[in-house]
Structure formats: structure tokens, C-alpha cells
């Protein structure tokens, strides 16, 4: 998850600004951008992670390579790769210290969830403040816009997808970093493949190219994605 502000400069190009509303976005979600000299025209759409961190995002093939690099410049990053590395590091530390327990994964995950929730909460407070300011100033334009497109409330994920409900024995903590936990994030359409390519051509004809997502236990985190109407 990446938090972006509308009109925010792109990390890689100070002449480009975010056109999308302020809010939290999936790492790979496309963000429309405009040039500072001509805000009316969107010149292209970049992924949220590129907007936030620039080309560095694409210099690594694995999230476990990318994560540490993000953390160097943004220790509190909520980017999937950064979260993965932070969680993995914490679990490894516990393992080395001998404090690793069956509940460690849940605890670490809860900590990361709290950080995300905290960020979302801060965003909500900020939005509320801005809303109050707008109401106080009585600016009709803003009021109209808010009315036209109210905040999009994303419902909580279903209970069976709540990581807290997973039985403890399914957590592969005892076997090292939890990288094999199934991804159950609804927001990523890649999880919903209906026409598997393997069914079209026998496996020996198709090169072995894994179509995976860059998430492991991180996918278990709940992500409330909110959009602010500018």
C-alpha cells in the first residue's frame, strides 16, 4: 500500500505531479500524472510505487531484494516488499534470539497491520480536518465536489479471509520465513485466473515463466483503501 497526495511530485521527476485524489493505493495501481506546466493534461499513468520511489522499484526481481532498498529511504514504508522484509527480519531476529513462538507470525503481522491502520487513521483525521475547514470556509466548489463523489467505503474483507481466524498450525513460522502462505488479497485480480494458460498448450511447449505476485504473508494484511475526493 502506498499513500499518495494529490499534486505530489514524482520521486523521479519533479516536473510531474499526481493527478489522482489523495489516498492509499495498491503498490501497482496506476496513478495519472500531469506536468506542472499544464495541469489540465495527464501525460501518463505510473504505478503508485514508482510515483513514491522512482525507478529503483524496477531494479529488483524479488520483493526480498527490493524491500531492503525501500526501507533504506523509507523505514516506515507500507510497500508490500518493505513490509515483507520487515516482518521476515523480525521473525529471523526472534529465531536467532530464541524467542520465536507459534504466535510470532500473528504478532508480527498484527504490528504491521497496526502501522497500516495507523496510517489510514491519520489519513481519516486529516481528511476530516480538511472537510471541517472546507465547511467552515463555506467554499461551494469543494462542497459540491464532495457531494458528487462521496468517499468510497471499501467493506472489510469477509471473516474467512481474516488472517486472525487462521488456525495457528497453518502458520509456517516454525519452518522459517513465511513465504508460502497463500495470497488471499481480493484486490489483486491476478488471483482470479479463470483461463489458465497451461490448459491451452501443454506445459512442455510453454516456457517456465511463473506468473506470481510479489506477496507472501503480507497479503494477509487487511488493506483499507480509501479515496479522498479532491
Amino acid at each position: 500500500m502506498i499513500h499518495l497526495d494529490q499534486d505530489q511530485e514524482l520521486f523521479e521527476d519533479k516536473n510531474l505531479r499526481v493527478a489522482n485524489p489523495t489516498g492509499n493505493y495498491d503498490d501497482a495501481e496506476l496513478i495519472e500524472c500531469y506536468h506542472v506546466d499544464d495541469p489540465k493534461i495527464t501525460v501518463g499513468a505510473f504505478q503508485a510505487q514508482y510515483v513514491k520511489y522512482g525507478n529503483m522499484i524496477y531494479r529488483f526481481n524479488e520483493p526480498r531484494e527490493l524491500g531492503p532498498e525501500i526501507l533504506k529511504i523509507d523505514p516506515t514504508s507500507t510497500h508490500t516488499a518493505a513490509v515483507l522484509v520487515r516482518m521476515t527480519d523480525e521473525l529471523l531476529t526472534q529465531a536467532q534470539e530464541g524467542s520465536l513462538t507459534e504466535g510470532s507470525l500473528d504478532e508480527v503481522r498484527a504490528e504491521e497491520q497496526a502501522k497500516i491502520d495507523e496510517q489510514i487513521a491519520e489519513e481519516e483525521i486529516k481528511e476530516e480536518d480538511e472537510k471541517e475547514d472546507e465547511e467552515n470556509t463555506g467554499e461551494e466548489e469543494n462542497e459540491e465536489e464532495v457531494e458528487e463523489e462521496p468517499k468510497e467505503e471499501i467493506p472489510e474483507e469477509s471473516p474467512e479471509e481474516d488472517p486472525d481466524s487462521l488456525p495457528a498450525e497453518e502458520s509456517p513460522v516454525g519452518e522459517g520465513p513465511a513465504i508460502d502462505v497463500p495470497v488471499i488479497d481480493e484486490e489483486l485480480p491476478v488471483e482470479e485466473v479463470i483461463i489458465p494458460e497451461e490448459s491451452i498448450v501443454p506445459p512442455e511447449v510453454v516456457p517456465v515463466i511463473e506468473e506470481t505476485v510479489t506477496e507472501g504473508p503480507v497479503g494477509l494484511l487487511r488493506r483499507k483503501k480509501r479515496r479522498k475526493v479532491a
Partner: protein, 883 residues
């Protein structure tokens, strides 16, 4: 007759076929003469194999599906006029190096127009005009009127690879520069393609790079505005982001590039000095160039055919407005397009096959569409395009992109609408097997073909014009447009399972059923199929013309067919197909590749099998005594052939699996003669007074590597000629494997041509260090010594001691008796049909018997000759030679 030898060492001056000179070594364009510190480094032969390691660059990006652009491929010399030099500035008088095509990177030497006389070369770094150029290092001060020579040989390819790392929502395209003269890959960098929304993770199934030069008209520049005369930039769809250079129409002569950031009209563009991700917002140029100046715009695009999690949201996409300078080590990210045409951005080119139109829709000034009787799903509709008012795609005038699918009856599109009633959803052809490109027809028309693998045995073809205006039919919505789509054939059942690995190549062969006809060739597991392009029409179910059955070289009793063919490439110089397999066969016999003619008879044996699986790893940490060479190693190979050089990339995602090789397959001896001209030809070698040619000896590197890691080089073969050397008119005769030249007609000179096998098991070309020819001249044959003791003046007997054995049957001997005073020939006789008397002794002349052709028996073997008639009182010189 004495044994003589003449030797040529490959260290001298060279020339190319088009500048044939019998006094120097002549080479085909895939043949090079190398030099170095040791004698082993000095050799001539096919260009050394190059090796690239995509997964070992500073940003490790495993790459596949090479596409190669010949950036510069020049050779020859330029010597017209004279120059003066001051430091790095060279001023010409009577020069015209711009018009001659001298490229930046060429070398110049001063003081002579003869390359052999130049001891110090300087690299040209800029060519501002026909009478000025800049060199990389100072040459001091040289007075005007000095002669010079420019060696124009610069040969560099751009090699692009598609990202083969785990599928993701972006794909990277990497670029290497390959120097054909040094066989070195230099990593240039990469771009990241941001795909328009909705497709999910993308897997590239085919990639093509489009490179073209736009030079129409002339220009003048004022600050950052370029004004054209005779230009049609807007109509010709010149893209933002393309780079432009001034002063020449030849990009290899441009030293400073600028980048187009706006195309105002057919005659007006603006430029900036630096590359930016979107092509705009850079530092405005500030220069002044007078009108009427030549210029060149490089049009560079990267097309990919992908499959994705959401099938209909994949297919053909195009990164537009690129420049070579976007490929930098740190990477340049190319944005997904939005609604703007001709931008530096990635466009998805969708087709207009109706994907879904069940139910009805409604929306009122909203981007949220509500369905009735619909069953939308993100897995099939996210990222697709939707149009309203009809279920017929052809009737839709405005398209929107589906940016979210909330439920079976709710979806979000790229902008607000007020609609109700019917609708239709369309998408890309997302089961692509690869991508093939035809030649450019105009700046607004060039076709791409995607083989859609509906099922493994029922492909169909989608045809697009990726140079068409995207602003027409329905426009561009969230980076997606239907304007490029032209037609879709019906499915046609074929034999074999159609590959989804870089499958499809458009080209014209000069043989077989497709001779002279532009066709689309594509691979299935057991067949190579051919489709005439003109037969690829809307709805056609008979678009596949014929097929070629896999019959291994030597037939199925020699090698079993792999039934794993996966990709076909056209070997441009040699008019053949290069066919690779998945490499996944259970037996290593299937880990091979083919080079062959196309023949649809069903029984034609493929011409060559090449490559063999040695399992050697060629990563940089491998033992330095090992010799890299391409092999399947259980993985698919993807291939691109460019001007005879074949780039072979093994699929993989690790440093020890994902390797790239540049192999001079086009120099193979099977094709080296004729118009291909890939021989190594020696200078004319003098055989003064030769009466008999004996043998040719070649000093070559027959193995490379050291210790237990040695590998054999591929073989070579030698031709000779003794006439038509000066004017290159003489015909060549193949020398047998022993190097025997005794059947040759001697003359005052001999010349050799060497051909190399490069389509081999290992594809490691041989290296020729020197070549030597032995012959007998017109003095006494070297096997005999005149014997005074056994000769008799009074009896007119001439004797010789048999000093050196022949090693077999003694050839026919010839004796000539000359008047030693006048030089006149008195007697000319031979041992096979003698007129005089030939005798032989094996006991030192005690007993003489009849002459025979038995080889030397001992050190007391003698022969003698008594002429039938010979006058008296004549001083005679006797000459014994082979006949």
C-alpha cells in the same frame, strides 16, 4: 627441382569483398582478422563468438526473445582531399566525409592514404561538417595539405531482450550494444513498460523493436523550435520522445541528440536537451541552425504480445516515442498512456471481437455502470474496453476502459457517462503465441501479426496497423485503443501444438513454395507452418498455406524427431530457417536446433542439426579456461538473425541459465561462396618458377580452452586457384583433407580461400594463424641429387642418387637436357613413355636394371638416363623433375 615453401601469416593488411585486392587478405563481412599480444591472438576467421549475461548486469534482468537492430554496419576507406590538424580539430580541404557516410567511431590516420603506413589511429568523435571533424585525442599540429585515410569500419548492433523474470504488472526491456569487431556485449540499460490498467501480471510471448529513420525535408532551428520545410511530422505521426539530430540524415554521424517534446504541426516541433520519462518537461533546447539543414529523427518503438491473468486485457501493446537514450543503467519508466495520441507512453492495442454483451446497462453522469442481467467478472473483464448503444463493436464510436469490476452488475469505467440499454465489451487477443512484424509501408501503416493460440491446434491471426491514428474510432481510453486492429482470421486446425514462445516471423524466402512471397512462418511442435500474408483476411479459415514436417537431418534412423519445435527465425543472409525447440525433451538428442530450407513435401530432411548439450555453465564465475558456447540445456532457445550474425538466448532466470550468444552462422561453409561471400582469401602467394605444387599446410587453433576444459573448434576447408588471381576471375578448387596440391597446374602464384563450418555442434569457429604452400621449382627435383660418379660424359649417361623417398609410388619423372651454352632444349623425355633409356640401381651402381616406380630402397639407390640420341661436343645441363 628444389622444394620451396611460401607462407602467409594473417597479420597484414586486409580488404573486404567489395574492395578486392589480390595483394592483401580479403574477408567476408563475418570474417575478421584479429591481433593481440601473443601469436595465438593473431589469427583470421569468423567473428569470435560473443557472450552476454543478462542476469549479471548491474540490474539483473533475465532476458529472452532477442530483437536486433543494426545501428551501424560500415566498412571501407575514405582518402579524398587533405587535412590539417590542431589538437583534436581536423580541418579538411576537398573533403566530403559526411556525404561519404563516415560514421562517428571510425578511425583516421595522417600522412598517408595507405592503411599499411599508418602507425597511430585516432577515433572520430564528431563530424560537424564536410570539412571538419573532431578526434578523441590530440594529434598535435599537422600542416595543411597532409594526406589521410579514414577506416570506416564500425559495426554495432543494438540487442533488445524481453523481461523473463516472474510475471508482473510491468515488464522491462533491456538493451545491449554488440560490437561485431570485438565480439563484446555492452549493457546499455533498460526501460520499464507500464501497462495500461487491468491486465494484471504480464508474461511476454513475443517482442519486436521498431526502428526507422525519418529524414524527409529540411529544417531550421531557433532556440527550441524546429521549423521544417517539406516535412509532414504531424501527418506522419512523429511521436513525442523521439530523438532528433541535425546536420546529417545519417544517425551514425550525429554526436548531439535532442528530444522532441511537442509536435505542433507538420512543420513545427519543439525539442529539449534531455530524456524524460514522458518525453516532456525537460530542459528546452537553445540553439540556432539555419534553414535547409538536413536532419534525422529516429522512430523507436517496442511492441510486446503478452498473456496475462485477465486474458482479454492482454495482447498487443506498444511503447511509443522511445529513444536509444532511454535505455540507461538506472532505467527509464515509460508511463501507461492515458487519452493522448502520439505520446511517449505504452498503448494497449485491442481488437474489436465482441467479448461480452449480455444484458443491459445504465448510468447517469457517472463512471459507475450498473448492469441488468449481466455477469461481469474482474477475471475476464477488468481492463477491457466497453462501448454503449450497440452490441456490435463496429457501431461503437466511443470506447471506455473498465477500471474496476465491483460485482456482476457493477463496474467502473475510465470516465463518466450517461447511458442506458445495450453495450459491448471488447478486449485484446490475450492468448498470444508471439508477434511478427511486416516492413513499414508508410509512416501511417505498418502491420503486426499475432498468432492467437485459441487451442494448441487451432490458431488464428490478429492483424494490426500499429502506425494508424489512435484518435479515430473510439479514441484512446485509459491507454487502450481499438484503432490499430485490422482483422482477425478464423481458426484453422493445424498439425502440432502451436508454440507460445516468440512464435512467428514474417519474411520472404528465395526458395521453396514461399519463394518470392512474403509469408508468416510459425512453429508447432511437429510442423513449421506457412501463411501467405495476402491470405490473412478477416474470418478466413484457410489462411495456413502449407506445412513442413520435422524430419531430422539424416532421417529418423539417425536422429529421432523432437516433436518439440517452438520457434522459427529466418536466417537472412543464407536464405534458410533457424528452428529451435523447447529443449525439454527427455533425451539430449532433442536438445538441438535446425537450420534448413522450407519444404512442404513432408519428407524433406532438415539441412543441418546444430548445437549439442554439453551442460557447461557459462556464467562469469565459470573457470576461465572454459570456452562459452550455446546449448539448450533443457531450456528453450530464442533466436534473432541479423546480417548473418545469429543471437541465441537461452531461457532462464539465473546467471547460469540465462545466457546470450552471438554466433556467425551466416559464415558457414555451406553458404560461404556465391553471393554470401564469407570466405577468408589470402593474398596472392608467389610460386616463382614452380614446376610442381606439392601441398598446403594450415596452422590453426584446433581446440580452445585449457586442461580438462578443452573444446574442439569447428572445421575449415581450403580452396586454391593459380589463375585469375589479379582480377578475381579464377575459379576455386577444393583441396582434399590431406592438403594435396599435386594435381594443380602451377603458375607464378597461388591463392587460397578458406571456408569455415559455423553451423556445428558447438558453434566455436576455427582460427587460422598462417598458411603455407610447398612446391617444386624448376631446379632438380628435391628427391634426387646429381651423381657425377655414376654419370658418363663419354657414354652420354646422366645419373642421380635417390636421396629422399617419396613415401609411396614414385611419380612419373621428366628429364630435360639443355644446351648449357645456348639454353636450347635438346631432349625432353619422361619415365612413363620414354624415348631414351631409364635404369635403376640399388647397389651403388654395380648392377643396373630396368627402371621402376618403386620408392627409394636404400642410400645406394640410383637412377640414370641415356638419351636415344644426343649430338657430340655439346655442354649439357640435365634437369630432372616430376612430370
Amino acid at each position: 627441382m628444389a622444394k620451396r615453401a611460401i607462407e602467409h601469416v594473417f597479420t597484414g593488411t586486409t580488404a573486404h569483398y567489395d574492395a578486392y585486392d589480390s595483394s592483401v587478405t580479403v574477408m567476408g563481412d563475418l570474417i575478421e582478422q584479429y591481433t593481440g599480444a601473443t601469436s595465438l591472438d593473431k589469427f583470421a576467421g569468423p567473428t569470435k563468438m560473443g557472450i552476454g549475461r543478462p542476469n549479471e548486469t548491474s540490474t539483473a534482468i533475465p532476458g529472452v526473445f532477442p530483437h536486433v537492430i543494426s545501428w551501424v554496419n560500415k566498412e571501407g576507406y575514405y582518402t579524398t582531399g587533405t587535412v590539417s590538424v590542431s589538437g583534436t580539430a581536423v580541418t579538411g580541404s576537398g573533403t566530403g566525409w559526411l556525404a561519404d557516410g563516415v560514421p562517428i567511431g571510425a578511425r583516421i590516420g595522417f600522412g598517408s592514404t595507405n592503411k599499411a603506413n599508418i602507425t597511430t589511429w585516432y577515433t572520430i568523435t564528431a563530424i560537424p561538417s564536410a570539412t571538419s571533424l573532431t578526434i578523441g585525442t590530440s594529434a598535435g599540429t599537422i600542416a595543411g595539405g597532409t594526406s589521410f585515410i579514414i577506416d570506416k569500419e564500425v559495426k554495432k548492433d543494438w540487442v533488445f531482450l524481453a523481461d523473463n523474470s516472474a510475471a508482473a504488472t510491468t515488464r522491462r526491456i533491456t538493451c545491449f550494444e554488440y560490437d561485431r569487431l570485438t565480439s563484446i556485449f555492452s549493457w546499455r540499460g533498460f526501460i520499464t513498460k507500464t501497462y495500461p490498467a487491468g491486465g494484471g501480471t504480464q508474461t511476454i510471448r513475443g517482442m519486436r523493436v521498431i526502428y526507422d529513420k525519418y529524414t524527409t525535408g529540411t529544417v531550421g532551428v531557433s532556440v527550441a523550435t524546429v521549423t521544417g520545410s517539406g516535412t509532414t511530422w504531424s501527418a506522419d505521426r512523429i511521436a513525442i520522445g523521439s530523438r532528433i539530430g541535425f546536420g546529417s540524415t545519417d544517425p551514425t554521424q550525429i554526436s548531439t541528440w535532442y528530444y522532441i517534446n511537442a509536435v505542433g504541426s507538420d512543420t513545427s516541433i519543439t525539442i529539449q536537451t534531455n530524456v524524460t520519462a514522458t518525453g516532456t518537461g525537460g530542459t528546452a533546447a537553445n540553439l540556432s541552425i539555419s534553414s535547409g539543414t538536413a536532419y534525422v529523427i529516429e522512430d523507436l518503438k517496442v511492441l510486446t504480445a503478452t498473456t496475462a491473468a485477465v486474458v482479454a486485457a492482454a495482447g498487443l501493446s506498444m511503447a511509443n516515442g522511445l529513444s536509444y537514450d532511454d535505455f540507461v543503467v538506472g532505467g527509464t519508466t515509460i508511463s501507461a498512456a492515458t487519452t493522448v495520441d502520439r505520446a511517449k507512453a505504452v498503448y494497449c492495442l485491442v481488437d474489436l471481437d465482441a467479448l461480452y454483451s449480455t444484458g443491459t446497462v445504465s448510468a447517469t453522469a457517472s463512471s459507475t455502470i450498473t448492469g441488468s442481467g449481466t455477469a461481469w467478472a474482474a477475471a475476464t473483464h477488468l481492463g477491457c474496453m466497453i462501448g454503449f448503444g450497440s452490441t456490435n463493436p463496429a457501431s461503437i464510436t466511443t470506447w471506455y476502459t473498465i477500471t474496476a469490476v465491483g460485482s456482476g452488475t457493477s463496474l467502473t469505467i475510465s470516465s463518466s457517462v450517461t447511458v442506458s440499454g445495450s453495450y459491448v465489451i471488447v478486449g485484446g487477443n490475450g492468448i498470444a503465441g508471439g508477434l511478427a512484424i511486416d516492413d513499414r509501408i508508410s509512416w501511417t501503416e505498418q502491420h503486426a501479426y499475432i498468432i492467437e493460440v485459441q487451442t494448441g491446434t487451432t490458431p488464428q491471426v490478429y492483424k494490426y496497423n500499429f502506425r494508424a491514428s489512435f484518435s479515430g474510432l473510439g479514441g484512446i481510453a485509459a491507454g487502450k485503443t481499438a484503432n490499430a486492429w485490422m482483422l482477425t482470421t478464423g481458426t484453422q486446425t493445424v498439425t502440432g501444438t502451436v508454440s507460445q514462445t516468440n512464435n512467428g516471423r514474417v519474411g520472404t524466402l528465395a526458395h521453396g513454395p514461399g519463394s518470392g512471397v512474403k509469408c508468416l512462418y510459425f512453429a508447432a511442435t511437429t510442423r513449421i507452418h506457412r501463411a501467405v500474408l495476402s491470405n490473412i483476411t478477416q474470418g478466413s479459415t484457410t489462411w495456413v498455406s502449407d506445412s513442413m514436417t520435422e524430419v531430422p537431418t539424416g532421417g529418423s534412423n539417425t536422429y529421432t524427431a523432437s516433436s518439440l519445435m517452438t520457434s522459427v527465425e529466418i536466417a537472412d543472409q543464407i536464405d534458410r530457417l533457424i528452428i529451435t525447440s523447447t529443449g525439454a525433451g527427455a533425451t539430449t538428442a532433442h536438445h538441438r536446433a535446425y537450420v534448413t530450407k522450407y519444404d512442404a513435401s513432408g519428407s524433406y530432411q532438415f539441412d543441418h542439426m546444430f548445437l549439442v548439450d554439453t551442460a557447461q555453465q557459462d556464467q562469469s564465475t565459470a573457470d576461465s579456461n572454459s570456452i562459452p558456447h550455446p546449448s539448450h540445456q533443457g531450456a528453450a532457445l530464442s533466436v534473432w538473425s541479423q546480417a548473418g550474425l545469429v543471437y541465441i538466448v537461452r531461457t532462464g532466470t539465473a546467471s547460469n541459465t540465462n545466457l546470450m550468444y552471438a554466433v556467425p552462422l551466416g559464415a558457414d561453409w555451406e553458404y560461404a561462396g556465391g553471393s554470401v561471400n564469407q570466405r577468408l582469401i589470402t593474398p596472392s602467394m608467389a610460386t616463382t618458377n614452380a614446376s610442381k605444387l606439392s601441398r598446403v599446410f594450415v596452422s590453426a587453433t584446433n581446440y580452445l580452452g585449457e586442461g580438462g576444459l578443452t573444446l574442439p573448434t569447428d572445421p575449415y576447408r581450403v580452396y586454391y586457384r593459380t589463375s585469375g588471381i589479379t582480377d578475381n576471375s579464377g575459379s576455386w578448387t577444393l583441396v582434399d583433407k590431406t592438403g594435396d596440391l599435386t594435381g594443380a597446374t602451377p603458375s607464378s602464384a597461388i591463392q587460397f580461400a578458406i571456408e569455415f563450418r559455423t553451423i556445428g555442434a558447438l558453434c566455436i569457429p576455427n582460427r587460422i594463424h598462417n598458411i603455407c604452400c610447398t612446391y617444386e621449382d624448376d631446379t632438380t627435383d628435391s628427391h634426387y641429387q646429381p651423381s657425377v660418379a655414376e654419370s658418363s660424359v663419354s657414354s652420354k649417361i646422366f645419373a642421380w642418387r635417390f636421396s629422399t623417398a617419396f613415401g609411396g609410388t614414385v611419380p612419373t619423372l621428366r628429364v630435360r637436357l639443355y644446351d648449357a651454352v645456348s639454353g636450347g632444349l635438346l631432349v625432353d623425355d619422361d619415365s612413363a613413355t620414354p624415348t631414351g633409356t631409364w635404369e635403376k640401381s640399388t647397389d651403388g651402381g654395380n648392377v643396373w636394371g630396368a627402371y621402376n616406380t618403386t620408392d627409394k630402397a636404400n642410400e645406394t639407390t640410383y637412377i640414370r638416363y641415356t638419351p636415344a640420341t644426343l649430338g657430340d661436343d655439346i655442354k649439357v645441363r640435365a634437369l630432372l623433375t616430376q612430370n
